[in-house]
Symmetry: C2
DNA sequence: ATAAATTACCTAACGGTGTTAGCAAAAGTA
DNA sequence: TACTTTTGCTAACACCGTTAGGTAATTTAT
């Protein structure tokens, strides 16, 4: 029964070769330029073979979406664990997210771009609540320690994401006029202001 | 010499008919579904005729981009003029931008989506500085009146846009779970917090 | 070992996209 | 009327995602 095992391994090997090849194309030419035909060409198989391994193009994109979410959640968790102070945690999370976005533009574009409908993207997120928990925990801690405990955490949660996502998505397509230092300054200032408002 | 004039009018008529038809398709089926062939079909001309009026598809999209920027700038100016108080002006501008985005999803998607490269989009903006001036004026006024005059306005400008754009772009693709009232609450809270930080 | 069934893989196509070459007919000009 | 310009068309090119259908190789069953 080892033959069937070998075949399974071969299938998996090609499956991951398709993914790595696709990723290479994306890295070199961008998402827009990724096509089934190009992948098939690169892995030296005919086009329909790709469909034996992935239902369609979107399935391939979703696979990368999963990878992206896994990576960013790992980064955010690591960032949180660098400190026990909630405010520092929040800052670290924001920084980690920022770094993830710019070090992995391809992932970020896929995850937040228009490439995939949002509802489809939900399939990528391991647990829907992981994101929220990661941010809500330090946030509520800050509110608790602050002067005004009536702050509505769920509203602030949205605000936090808005600042982060908004700034990144603007800077992602911005002309190279703005230096990276300035952008980081803007982020720090925005997050600092946000935290200040949380505990006042 | 009136014949040439009539012909010029006819050309312009078809040109704008192409645009209105395209817009109708976008409204009904979304940007993704807009194609030269569909436009040609709808205006009852063959495909290459479209290319006599627009250099390519992007030229058509840019035309809508222009329209979008003109409209939003008009709305923002009107919003500013509703009050003489800088803080109220800023709030009004944020609200106007929010309303523009949700009442004109098609424009917003085109202007900030990945449909058009950002550098190309610059061609759409009548004056590059209009946006910045509109927001910087009330912002610097608030800073001047506040306690800490050392706030760097240009950094805050980026923050303002981040909050606004970030929140909208998140809500634009969000599942219908969040009510419109909640979203507006989040916006108001975020802008209020921003203004508070400006003058402290 | 031979026959049957399964699997792997291919060519070729369908219907779609943006874009363009080249030609025929109509309209305007001399 | 003859010439020139404009107008609009058909047909094609090179792509895209996707699939139908067939062939050859491999595995399984007899």
């Amino acid at each position: 029964m080892s033959i069937v095992e070998r075949r399974r391994r071969e299938k998996e090997a090609l499956s991951s070769r398709i993914l790595t090849t696709a990723w290479q194309i994306v890295k070199e030419e961008g998402w827009q330029s990724l096509s089934i035909r190009k992948i098939a060409d690169a892995v030296e198989y005919s086009v329909p073979v790709i469909y034996d391994y992935f239902e369609n193009k979107e399935a391939i994109l979703l696979e990368f979406g999963k990878q992206g979410f896994e990576l960013v959640i790992k980064k955010l968790k690591a960032a949180r664990n660098t400190s026990a102070d909630p405010a520092e945690q929040l800052k670290a999370i924001a920084n980690a997210y920022w770094n993830f976005a710019f070090k992995n533009k391809e992932y970020y574009q896929l995850m937040w771009g228009l490439s995939i409908p949002c509802c489809e993207m939900d399939k990528c997120i391991p647990e829907r609540s992981v994101f929220k928990d990661l941010i809500m925990e330090p946030m509520t801690a800050i509110i608790e320690k602050g002067k005004n405990k009536n702050v509505q955490a769920c509203i602030k949660y949205h605000t936090f994401w808005s600042i982060l996502h908004g700034l990144i998505s603007i800077k992602m397509v911005a002309p190279p006029g703005d230096t990276e230092e300035l952008n980081k300054l803007v982020l720090d200032d925005a997050i600092a202001g946000f935290i200040k408002n949380l505990s006042s």
